[in-house]
C-alpha cells in the first residue's frame, strides 16, 4: 500500500462518518462537507503534481508509480463533479441525502484503496466495498428501473467476486504470496508459468466482468440506464473503470504481456477488447434511450482500453492509461448532460426529444465537445489516446486490429452524431418546448470537464511526458 497516498483514502472516510452526524438537522451541510472534502483533496493533488518545479523535472518527483496518483486525481475530479452536480440535482425531500453523500465518499475511499494497493487480496476487498456502495447508490431514487439495475449489477458481477477469490486462492497456493511485486518477479523469471498464470487468468476474468467487457457486459446497460442520474455518471465515469479497467491494466503490466510471457491470455484479452468495441458501437447505433446508448458507448470505449492493455507494449499501456483518463472526462460530461436533459425535459427517450440546442445551448455544446473527443477528433484529448492505441497496434504488426479499431471509431462518430441530431438539433418537440436550460451550478461541472478535454488535447505534450513516465515506471 502506498503510504504517501493513504490520506486520500482516510479523509473521505472520515468525512463520510462525520456527515450523518453533522447534517442531521441541516441537510445542506452534507453537500458542503462532501464537496469541500473532495475539492481539498483535488487542490492537494494539484499541488503535488502540477508545481512548476515538478513539471520542469518531467514529473520525476511524483510519489509512487504515478499511475496511482493520476487515478486518484481522476477519482477525485469525477466525484467532485458528481457531488457538485448532485447538490443542485437532488430533490429537497430525499430522506437519505446524507447517506447518499456518505456512500459516494466511501466509494471514493474504496477507489483510492483500489488504485494504491499492492496486494491482490486487499484489491479484492476494496473492489467489493466499491461494489456494495455502488449497488446502494444505483437505487438512490428507489425507482423500479434502479432496483432492477442494482440487482443485475449485483448478481451478474457476483461471478466476478467468486472468480477473483478463487484466483487469489490458486495464486496463494502456487506462488505463496499475494503481492504485486512477487507476481512481477515471477513473470520476469524463467520459471514455468503453470498454475500462477491460471490463477492470474481467473482474477483477470473477474476484472473483465467488473469492467463490463463483452460478452460479460450485460449488467452495464441496465445498471447505467436505471441508475439515479448523477450516479450513472459516477458509475460509468469512474467506478467501473477503477474496479475493472484499472485492474486489467495493472494485471497486463504485472503479467508482462509485452514480452510474451502470457501469450494466450494477451490474445484473448485483445480479442475481447475488439469484440467490446464492435458490439458496443453497433448496439449503440440502434438505441433509443439516451442513457442506454451512452452505456453501450461506454462498453465500446472500455474495449479500446482493454485492447491496448491486452497488447501490453509500453506505447499501448500509455494509450490505455490516457484513454482511461479521457474516458472519465468525456463520459462524465455526457452522462451529466443526460441527467440535465432528464431533469429539464423529463425524459431521456431520444424519439421524444429534439431541438434542445435552442433552449439548452450549453448542454448541447458541451455534448458536442465530449462526443467529438470520444470519437477521436483532433485536437481533443480523445484523439491522442486513440491515436496512440492505434499506433501501438500498428507498430506491433496487428494491422487488422488497428484498422478495425479505426473503423469502429467512425461508427462511434456515427452514433454520436445521430444522438446529437435526435436530441439537440432539428425541430423542437413538445417535450423540448418546455425545457429551459438547467441552472449554472449544474452546468459548471460539465463546462469544467469540457475545458479539461480541450486542455488535455491542446497541452498534450505535457501530459504525454507524464503518461510516458508512468508507463516507464510501471513496466520496469
Amino acid at each position: 500500500m502506498d503510504k504517501g497516498l493513504l490520506a486520500y483514502l482516510l479523509i473521505p472516510l472520515l468525512s463520510a462518518v462525520i456527515i450523518p452526524f453533522a447534517a442531521r438537522n441541516r441537510p445542506k451541510l452534507a453537500d458542503i462537507l462532501a464537496n469541500v472534502t473532495l475539492l481539498a483533496g483535488l487542490a492537494n493533488l494539484a499541488w503535488l503534481a502540477l508545481r512548476p518545479s515538478i513539471i520542469r523535472g518531467e514529473f520525476a518527483d511524483i510519489p509512487g508509480d504515478g499511475f496511482s496518483l493520476l487515478l486518484v486525481a481522476a477519482v477525485y475530479l469525477v466525484a467532485l463533479c458528481v457531488t457538485f452536480f448532485s447538490a443542485w440535482f437532488i430533490e429537497e425531500g430525499l430522506p437519505n441525502r446524507s447517506a447518499y453523500y456518505s456512500l459516494i465518499l466511501v466509494s471514493v475511499s474504496a477507489m483510492c484503496g483500489v488504485v494504491t494497493t499492492t496486494d491482490f487480496f486487499t484489491l479484492y476487498v476494496f473492489i467489493e466495498v466499491l461494489a456494495v456502495t455502488s449497488f446502494a447508490l444505483i437505487t438512490t431514487d428507489e425507482s423500479g428501473a434502479g432496483l432492477e439495475g442494482a440487482l443485475k449489477y449485483f448478481f451478474l458481477t457476483f461471478p466476478a467476486s467468486a472468480l477473483i477469490i478463487i484466483g487469489i486462492a490458486v495464486m496463494l497456493m502456487s506462488l505463496g504470496s499475494l503481492s504485486f511485486e512477487s507476481l512481477r518477479f515471477f513473470m520476469a523469471s524463467d520459471l514455468p508459468a503453470g498454475p500462477v498464470t491460471f490463477g492470474a487468468a481467473l482474477m483477470l476474468l473477474g476484472f473483465i466482468i467488473k469492467a463490463g467487457v463483452v460478452p460479460f457486459h450485460t449488467w452495464a446497460p441496465d445498471a447505467y440506464q436505471g441508475a439515479y442520474a448523477p450516479v450513472s455518471a459516477h458509475l460509468a465515469g469512474i467506478v467501473t473503470k477503477v474496479s475493472g479497467v484499472y485492474a486489467i491494466i495493472k494485471m497486463a503490466t504485472l503479467l508482462r504481456f509485452f514480452d510474451g510471457r502470457a501469450q494466450a491470455l494477451s490474445e484473448m484479452l485483445m480479442f475481447l477488447g475488439l469484440l467490446s468495441i464492435a458490439v458496443g458501437a453497433l448496439a449503440a447505433l440502434k438505441q433509443t434511450n439516451l442513457k442506454r446508448m451512452l452505456a453501450f458507448s461506454s462498453i465500446s470505449q472500455v474495449g479500446y482500453i482493454v485492447l491496448a492493455a491486452g497488447l501490453g507494449t509500453p506505447l499501448a499501456i500509455m494509450g490505455a492509461i490516457f484513454h482511461l483518463i479521457n474516458h472519465a472526462t468525456f463520459k462524465t460530461v455526457l452522462f451529466l448532460n443526460s441527467a440535465s436533459v432528464e431533469k429539464s425535459a423529463g425524459t431521456t427517450d431520444m424519439d421524444k426529444l429534439g431541438g434542445l440546442e435552442h433552449t439548452m445551448p450549453w448542454t448541447s455544446w458541451t455534448s458536442i465537445v465530449a462526443l467529438l473527443s470520444t470519437a477521436g477528433v483532433p485536437p481533443l484529448s480523445g484523439f491522442w489516446s486513440k491515436l496512440i492505441i492505434i499506433l501501438a497496434l500498428w507498430e506491433a504488426g496487428l494491422k487488422g486490429y488497428a484498422v478495425l479499431a479505426l473503423l469502429f471509431s467512425i461508427v462511434t462518430l456515427a452514433y454520436f452524431m445521430m444522438m446529437q441530431k435526435k436530441v439537440f438539433f432539428g425541430k423542437k418537440t413538445p417535450a423540448a418546448e418546455s425545457s429551459p436550460e438547467v441552472c449554472a451550478p449544474l452546468l459548471a461541472p460539465v463546462v469544467l470537464m469540457s475545458g479539461l478535454i480541450v486542455a488535455l488535447g491542446l497541452l498534450f505534450p505535457y501530459f504525454y511526458v507524464y503518461v510516458k513516465m508512468v508507463a516507464e515506471r510501471i513496466l520496469l
Partner: protein, 162 residues
C-alpha cells in the same frame, strides 16, 4: 482445549440460529458470527492466514453483501408466509450431531493440536492481522462503514413505503 470446544459449540449454535431465524437480517448477522467463531478456531490452530481470510471475506464482506441484498427486499415480500416445517427437524439433527461430536471431536482436536506444534511460530492474532494484513483491516473498516450507510440509505425508504 476448552476454548476449542467452546468456540465449536458457539459456531454450531450460531449456525443453527442462522437457519432458524425468521428475519433474514438476523440470519445474515448470525452467519457472520459463525465466521468469526470459525476464524478464531483457525487462529487458535496456528493458521493465521486462513483466519484472516475467513474474517475478511466471510465475516466482513459476505455479511455486508447479504445485508445489502436483504435491505433491498420490499416490506411486502418480507411478509410472505414461509414453509417452516423443516425447522422442526433441525433440533433433532443437531442432537444427533452433538452426540457424534462428543465421541469423535476430542481425538480430532488432539490431532490438530499436534499439527499446531509442527507449525509453531505462526504468530498471534495480533501480528497476523496487524503486521501482515494491515491494509485489509482498512478495507474492513471501509466495508463496515459502507454496510452502515447502505442500511442507513435503504432502510428509511422501506419504513416510509410502509
Amino acid at each position: 482445549m476448552t476454548t476449542h470446544n467452546l468456540l465449536f459449540v458457539l459456531a454450531a449454535v450460531f449456525a443453527l440460529w442462522a437457519v432458524m431465524a425468521k428475519k433474514l437480517l438476523t440470519s445474515a448477522i448470525m452467519l457472520a458470527l459463525v465466521s468469526v467463531a470459525v476464524s478464531l478456531i483457525f487462529f487458535d490452530f496456528s493458521a493465521p492466514w486462513a483466519g484472516v481470510f475467513e474474517l475478511s471475506v466471510c465475516a466482513g464482506l459476505i455479511t455486508v453483501l447479504f445485508i445489502g441484498a436483504v435491505s433491498l427486499i420490499r416490506a411486502d415480500e418480507d411478509k410472505r408466509p414461509e414453509n417452516r416445517a423443516f425447522a422442526y427437524a433441525l433440533p433433532l439433527a443437531a442432537a444427533v450431531f452433538a452426540i457424534a461430536a462428543w465421541f469423535y471431536l476430542p481425538p480430532f482436536f488432539e490431532e490438530l493440536a499436534a499439527g499446531r506444534q509442527m507449525a509453531a511460530g505462526g504468530g498471534t492474532i495480533g501480528t497476523a492481522l496487524w503486521g501482515l494484513r494491515r491494509p485489509d483491516l482498512l478495507g474492513q473498516v471501509l466495508m463496515l462503514a459502507a454496510g452502515v450507510f447502505v442500511i442507513k440509505s435503504v432502510f428509511p425508504r422501506r419504513t416510509e413505503n410502509k
